[in-house]
Amino acid sequence: MFYLYFIQLFLILSGQQMDTKEPDLSQLLPLSITGWEKTENDSYYNEESLFNYINGGAELYISYGFNNVISRRYSRNGNSQIAVEIFDMGNSINAYGVFTHVREEMDESYGQGSQLYEDAILFWKYRYYVSVVSLDGSEDAQLTIKNIAEYIDDSISETGELPGVLRVIPERGLVDESVLYFHHPAWINSLYYISDENILNIDNQTGCILARYGDKKDRSYLLAIRYSTIEDAKRAFNQFYKVFSEEKDSPGLSLMEDGTWIAYTRHHRYFFGVFHASSEILAKDLLQETIDRIDSQGL
């Protein structure tokens, strides 16, 4: 008993949640709403069967520890259709991570963060990532997706923690909506090409952030990775150094042929890289700010 307690305490402190209950996802959805009725039997997919539903797109969710999903359709008078999916991502950190792939602007109309389109609402809350989409684009359906999203938001009573690694990234110059959280090497090049190989040993024990800084004309990118141990961070740094340095006397700094700078360092169990900085000073300053945040917060 005490053993389990300590595991749970460790996971909470490390920014993860141990959610062992298997919730009934259908309880989060209305049977009918403003004249729209559930049309057919719900479909459920797990890691094995998700490919049958969204083919190769399933890998995105699996890369975030996907647990299962419910898919439900609503119809009005047998014509217009609305598709709803609730993905149970196992914990809030994974739900947040999947959501960061679609975020184009900061919005909290629904859940703990939402992305709104004319005919679609995507949001995350607690351990869930939710998609509500009008399939025919009718005005009625566009109104109803808001009602459904609101219903689901209200049905999820809990909220979830954000990844701990988020606390290390500086706010100054940050493009908030660009923050991408991940723990699978497939997403390392999402903002800027870094490597085709997993030179930083990213896996589900690491927490990674990519983010844009500055304005479009003076863009730089920050990569922050938290490892389980300092030794892991050292190994990753050394591998990165072998690839990114051509000068033995200049560890942690590279001038690219397009005139931009790359700066990188390890601090405690963190690796940080700044890419495409317009000056050496800018690159170093962003790194230093990141280190200062770790030290000041005792992370």
Partner: protein, 297 residues
């Protein structure tokens, strides 16, 4: 004073070797070798009248676009000659289409291809158009010729849905090809039902999807009316041009570099690892026909 590090040198340390550079965003420098061999032809044809405001296709314009592209590609004088250069009357022809809900291969284009194949002397019972169930269709399992046709779109795992990827339904378990973000999709082209049979590749660029969101990976906001077809013999070359157009559209739309995510490894590796064709823009002879407004490439 620091020595400048080059993107080329970084890539040489990576698994892709010299493959990826010119097609990855954030890589402003051409990294492919300067081969002196003959260039691979790819025809880009566009017509602003191929669809109306509601995106309904005009079958006549669609057929004419395809035929004009083929005439140029095969260096013939008319469509009849072009089709006969591609297809023999004895052929059994599978037209490998794509049925993805949001962006399927247009029926009007499928019909134009079917008419072309039949004009070369193939009777209807010896051709088949389909995406799913290929392994249960004797035209695809025992055929002599394939025509590969699909729209280009972004994809959550392989980067894009490409011509190379379109043969994934020749296998019963597509997830076998998922490792390393579908890096080795080109090996599909070595399957017994596929190898050496493809006579023509058509990448549909009518309303391409340049960014995907959510589990359905589709929002009309991220499509545009490009009204084009890319046609060629080399699927890698055609896909390579298609990616460049998508990337340019992303740059225009987002007003900055936004790499396709994840990077489209499978097209680069189809060139350098699997030698299926060329992805190198310097080795592609891009022939542009028709409407050239906002052509992006």
């Amino acid at each position: 004073m620091l020595k400048k590090i080059t993107r080329r040198s970084l890539l040489k340390k990576s698994a892709l070797a010299t493959a990826a550079g010119a097609l990855y965003l954030n890589f402003p420098y051409p990294l492919f070798g300067n081969g002196s061999g003959q260039k691979t032809p790819v025809v880009l044809i566009r017509d602003e009248n191929v669809m109306d405001e509601s995106r309904k296709f005009n079958p006549g314009v669609m057929k004419e676009m395809l035929n004009q592209a083929l005439i140029r590609l095969t260096k013939t004088k008319n469509a009849g000659e072009a089709w006969k250069k591609l297809i023999n009357p004895e052929d059994v022809v599978g037209i490998k289409s794509n049925v993805w809900n949001y962006l399927p291969t247009p029926k009007e284009l499928e019909m134009a291809i079917k008419e072309g194949v039949m004009s070369a002397g193939v009777p209807e019972e010896r051709l088949s158009i389909r995406d799913r169930g290929l392994l249960d269709d004797p035209v695809f399992t025992g055929g002599t010729a394939l025509i590969n046709v699909r729209p280009m779109r972004t994809h959550d795992w392989s980067g894009v849905g490409s011509l190379i990827k379109n043969y994934i339904t020749f296998v019963r378990k597509p997830s076998m090809y998922h490792p390393d973000t579908c890096a080795d999709l080109a090996t599909l082209w070595k399957l017994p039902f596929v190898e050496g049979k493809t006579r023509l590749n058509i990448l549909v660029m009518m309303t391409p999807l340049f960014n995907g969101v959510g589990p359905h990976h589709y929002n009309k906001k991220y499509t545009w009316e490009y009204k084009g077809l890319l046609v060629g013999f080399d699927p890698v070359a055609v896909d390579s041009v298609g990616i460049r157009i998508l990337q340019e559209k992303r740059r225009e739309f987002f007003d900055e570099d936004r790499p396709i995510k994840p990077p489209v490894k499978h097209i680069f590796l189809a060139d350098t690892r699997h030698h299926l064709g060329t992805a190198d823009p310097a080795k592609i002879d891009l022939i542009k026909l028709g409407w050239d407004k906002d052509i992006l490439v």
